[in-house]
């Protein structure tokens, strides 16, 4: 279990502000954010290698804010693994065993089990410099877990791996979490990893936590304009609410349920805006149909982003590129647009 209480870290040119985070025992928690958001700095504060200006850090209920790294019981695995290049695989894994071993009996059972689970048995005598990326990552995991840390921190562990190894490593992480009960706090900027692994998520931006909660909370109901943009709700517009209606500039949309108290924006994913090219299917849009003028089109491979102007509002819809190329939609034309009331998020 790990808890951060209004953590402040001030470095030249960057600061973490008021970070509150709680990772429950046995949980897989993902801290997601764009590059330079302060994700790694949060991990380094937990490890204990950056000076903390204000706030407290608890590990298993113990205040470790003022403790040196070696007394915090934190395991860390970096993107570049940071293996000890002068030691063999076995010596890397055994590195921490001589320090503060709580239960030698447990250690004798756990380390071999760990080596077996991570499929490292045949590599034990090898030099770490000649391993593949995936193998290095497994050694780094074994080394961190050998000392039985209270929590395992993962700093973008999959980013530096080849795509083929990445999936394999994801399974390894899942397996460790599920079968060994490891508490994990992982940092990433990758959505796929987050969706695949996370039980709970926190979104960090410019040194602040923008939102935290379950995957559905953060990805389905972004709470701030940045969160909405980050999770792909590219249509994020100021609106006034009145019961189940959202009034945008020159456009009124129906909601599936009344807007929450204090809502000021609507969010719609581009893929949820449907441009009706043929005769409208019955009940399309649940009453949310409006006419829009097609604006600029940007190609993104199989899909393209279609700019739409409706009333005073500019929107982006996603369309299979084939449909645009087939001439079903053309810039400057009037089209009918439908959106399901349940896909309109009041924030």
């Amino acid at each position: 279990m790990i808890r951060l209480e209004s953590l402040h870290v001030t470095l030249p040119g960057f600061a973490l502000q008021s970070i509150d985070l709680r990772v429950a025992a046995g949980e897989f928690f993902v801290l997601i954010g764009p590059t330079g958001a302060g994700k790694s700095l949060v991990l380094e504060s937990i490890v204990g290698v950056v000076p903390i200006t204000r706030g407290r850090i608890f590990v298993d209920g113990r205040d470790v804010t003022r403790l040196p790294p070696e007394r915090r019981r934190i395991g860390i695995v970096y993107q570049d693994q940071a293996l000890f290049p002068h030691l063999t695989v076995e010596k890397n894994i055994a590195y921490g065993l001589r320090y503060g071993c709580r239960d030698p009996q447990d250690r004798r059972r756990r380390v071999p089990a760990l080596v077996k689970r991570l499929a490292l048995t045949h590599l034990l005598g090898r030099a770490v410099t000649h391993l593949s990326g995936g193998e290095k990552q497994r050694v780094a995991l074994a080394r961190a877990l050998a000392v039985d840390p209270a929590v395992l921190l993962l700093d973008e562990p999959l980013s530096a791996l080849d795509p083929n190894f990445r999936e394999e490593m994801r399974e390894v992480l899942k397996d460790l979490h599920r079968h060994m009960g490891v508490t994990i706090l992982m940092v990433t900027h990758d959505f796929a990893e987050t969706h695949c692994l996370a039980q709970r998520v926190a979104l960090i931006h410019r040194g602040r936590i923008e939102q935290s909660g379950t995957l559905e909370d953060v990805f389905g109901r972004p709470a701030t304009p940045f969160a909405a943009e980050f999770v792909g709700m590219r249509n994020f517009l100021p609106a006034g609410f009145e019961g189940r209606k959202a009034h945008l500039e020159g456009l009124t949309l129906h909601l599936a349920r009344p807007a929450p108290e204090g809502a000021r924006f609507v969010g719609i994913r581009p893929e949820d805006l449907r441009i009706l090219t043929g005769p409208p299917p019955p009940g399309a849009g649940n009453g949310n149909r409006f006419t829009a003028t097609v604006g600029p089109v940007t190609f993104r491979g199989f899909t393209c982003d279609v700019g739409l102007a409706a009333g005073g509002v500019r929107l982006v819809a996603m369309l299979p590129s084939g449909e645009f190329l087939a001439g079903k939609v053309a810039t400057g034309e009037q089209v009918s647009v439908a959106v399901d009331a349940a896909k309109i998020h009041a924030v």
Binding site: V49, E70, H86, G96, T129, G133
Partner: protein, 278 residues
């Protein structure tokens, strides 16, 4: 460390192996050859000027042997002292940032810039009876002026920057994350230093000691002021040059060059492989 496995940037950093003659390459090659020749020619010329008989006679001269021996062992002693006393500072400079760090780094470089006789005069002025420190060490039975102790003090002074800067570069090349991982696994700062840092940086430390020794062997200006006797090789070469002329100083110089060259080639040979980080 940056992102590993970036093969294209690694390849583009490597020297281009295809040689296409053009004016730029021609000028670059010509001036390179000129500068190498400028360094090598006087040395080669000097080595081949004395006759074999003169060289043989010189090396059997016990004074010459004693001078070269003293030069080498006093320089090695200075390097060992630089290693023992300079390593903590080198590590501190590599790992910590603190107010006044730039100033400390400039202070470390001072012995490189101060004219050599000035170094000698400065040390002498503190070691004499007119200074409280000189009286203190004198009371302890240590003599600086005209002693091997004085020579080693001078050589340590001029050699320290070479050891500290080289060791510091070696420590800086070790990713901080490796040490952070060691700490997180339960190792104290001291345990991390001896189990991780030293095994990864020892080559830089050895190279630093070699450079410190090399600098010390060549010292003349400061030694001649602090300790004309016992005579180190550079002082002896100078004395023979000024008393008997060029011809008599050359054989000693040749032997000093040969002995040092042999030593440094030997030492570098086993420290040449650079440390690798994954």
């Amino acid at each position: 460390m940056n992102v590993p496995g970036d093969a294209t940037s690694a390849a583009s950093n490597r020297a281009v192996s295809v040689w296409r003659p053009d004016l730029f390459a021609g000028v670059a090659l010509a001036s390179s050859l000129l500068i190498v020749a400028f360094i090598l020619l006087p040395l080669i010329e000097m080595v081949f000027q004395p006759s074999a008989a003169d060289l043989g006679q010189t090396i059997r001269d016990p004074d010459v042997l004693r001078a070269i021996g003293l030069s080498i062992w006093a320089s090695a002693a200075a390097a060992v002292l630089a290693f023992a006393l300079g390593t903590p500072l080198a590590y501190l400079l590599a790992r910590r940032s603190f107010p006044g760090k730039k100033l400390v780094e400039s202070v470390i470089d001072l012995p490189i810039m101060v004219p050599h006789p000035v170094v000698g005069i400065a040390i002498l002025s503190m070691a004499g009876r007119d200074h409280w420190l000189g009286r203190l060490i004198g009371a302890l039975g240590v003599r600086v002026m005209g002693s091997v102790t004085g020579i080693i003090v001078v050589l340590l002074f001029v050699g320290l920057p070479f050891y500290i800067n080289t060791a510091k570069n070696g420590f800086e090349a070790i990713p901080l994350r490796i040490e952070t991982v060691s700490r997180s696994l339960g190792a104290s700062p001291a345990a991390t230093f001896f189990r991780i840092t030293v095994p990864l940086a020892w080559r830089s430390m050895v190279v630093g000691m070699i450079m410190c020794t090399a600098r010390a062997v060549s010292e003349f200006g400061a030694i001649v002021i602090v300790a004309y006797h016992p005579m180190t090789a550079p002082v002896m070469i100078y004395e023979r040059f000024s008393a008997y002329g060029l011809k008599y100083s050359q054989p000693v110089a040749v032997w000093l060059i040969l002995v040092c060259l042999g030593l440094f080639v030997l030492l570098r040979a086993f420290s040449i492989k650079p440390a690798r980080f994954p």
